[in-house]
């Protein structure tokens, strides 16, 4: 059930300004409200997009969270690729990487 609460944490953070205020004021207290493993809590403390992706957080939830963190689009895609390189394939859900990790767009990060 832990992935459920990990996603619930992010779902509520993404949609509720009150949760965003708590996140900024006292992240540890906010984390206490959810039944999370140490690995999940640490991923949230560090904003570890790559690990959260591999743990199976729904991609839409993760995309909105990355936007909340202010991560630039192409960096966000690279962080997911790096997560797979470091931790292996996505462990749950339907947002697995099915390509080889290559980019599907001609556009890239603005220099």
């Amino acid at each position: 059930m832990s992935l459920y609460y990990l996603q619930k944490f992010l779902y509520q953070l993404n949609r509720e300004e009150s949760a965003q205020k708590k996140y900024r004021a006292d992240l540890e207290q906010l984390l206490e409200e959810y039944d999370l493993t140490d690995e999940e809590s640490n991923a949230l403390r560090e904003g570890d997009i790559g690990l959260l992706y591999v743990l199976g957080v729904n991609g839409q939830i993760l995309m909105h969270y990355a936007a909340f963190l202010g991560i630039e689009w192409f960096d966000y895609l690279d962080l997911m690729r790096e997560g797979i390189a470091k931790h292996g394939p996505v462990r749950a859900g339907v947002y697995a990487m099915t390509g080889g990790g290559e980019s599907f767009t001609e556009e890239g990060k603005k220099q």
């Binding site: 993404n14 949609r15 991609g59 995309m63 936007a67 339907v94 990487m97 980019s103 556009e107």
Partner: protein, 277 residues
């Protein structure tokens, strides 16, 4: 008959959020121009409210209590939930249609069990369409959600039945109503494969959709869709519901796979309402 317009369009967040990154600006601008034609068609229809059948992305519904179908009956909504700078759409209030939404819900319930909601926060799935179709946010909106995100998902034949029920509901009220379905066809959004598009699959689906071929549309299987069209392909439910609501054939006004930076094959189409459901 009070359904006065039915159409479909894409909603991917990149359509607004990554507009400035696009290299193929001519194709982007052609897409935007088609969306503006859709806006004009809805306006010309005299619609007094716009139903948006969307596939939301965890702005309101979660696996704690996930409805297969939900209709908004609130008097006002807000959005986007996303960082406005990221989506390039400012946070705003959007008028609802509480009384009309309630009457439609009551009618739909005669044949399809639906949830309803007075509170609803819009994510890019609704805000991107509204940005183009009612940019002043002055047309009352009735949001509708089909769960395309958290499996188990509603079967396609139920999405069809829902579309038919919505048509009956629209035809039971005196107001003029427009309806759009918004989703992706094949796409792999929010994965490292973002930008991947299976154009042959899209064109085959759009052919079935424009012919409004019920049997062919309901012939898709979620496992095959996942393999060939990605998890984003589950959103065909919104397009299928529109085909069922419209009853008539479609006219594809725009499709391109040449804007992968938007992470979806960009689509605009309208339907004939000749044949009542």
């Amino acid at each position: 008959m009070s359904l006065v317009y039915a159409g479909v369009l894409s909603h991917a967040p990149g359509i607004t959020g990554r507009a400035d990154l696009v290299k193929n600006t001519a194709k982007r601008d052609e897409f935007y121009a088609k969306l503006d034609i859709q806006r004009q068609e809805i306006e010309a229809s005299g619609a007094e409210a716009l139903i948006v059948i969307a596939a939301e992305h965890f702005a309101n519904f979660f696996m704690s209590n996930m409805p297969a179908y939900c209709i908004g009956i609130g008097s006002e909504y807000e959005g986007p939930i996303e960082d406005p700078e990221w989506l390039r759409i400012p946070k705003t209030k959007v008028p609802g249609a509480a009384d009309l939404g309630t009457r439609l819900t009551r009618e739909v319930m005669k044949t399809v069990d639906v949830a309803y909601a007075e509170e609803w926060k819009f994510d890019h799935g609704i805000m991107v369409p509204l940005h183009f179709l009612t940019p002043k946010y002055d047309l009352p909106i009735i949001p509708v959600n089909i769960n395309c995100q958290g499996p188990p998902l509603t079967p396609l034949h139920r999405a069809w039945a829902f579309g038919e029920a919505l048509r009956r509901a629209c035809d039971s009220v005196p107001e003029k109503i427009a309806v759009v379905g918004t989703g992706g066809i094949s796409h792999w959004p929010a994965t490292p494969d973002s930008g991947k598009i299976n154009e042959p699959w899209d064109r085959e689906f759009l052919d079935r959709l424009m012919r409004n071929d019920r049997e062919a549309l309901l012939g898709y299987d979620d496992m095959q869709t996942y393999r060939d069209a990605g998890q984003g392909g589950f959103e065909i439910r919104t397009f299928i519901a529109i085909a069922a609501a419209a009853g008539g054939q479609g006219e594809l006004q725009f499709y391109t796979a040449e804007l992968p930076i938007f992470a979806v094959g960009c689509t605009v189409a309208r339907f004939s309402l000749d044949k009542a459901a």
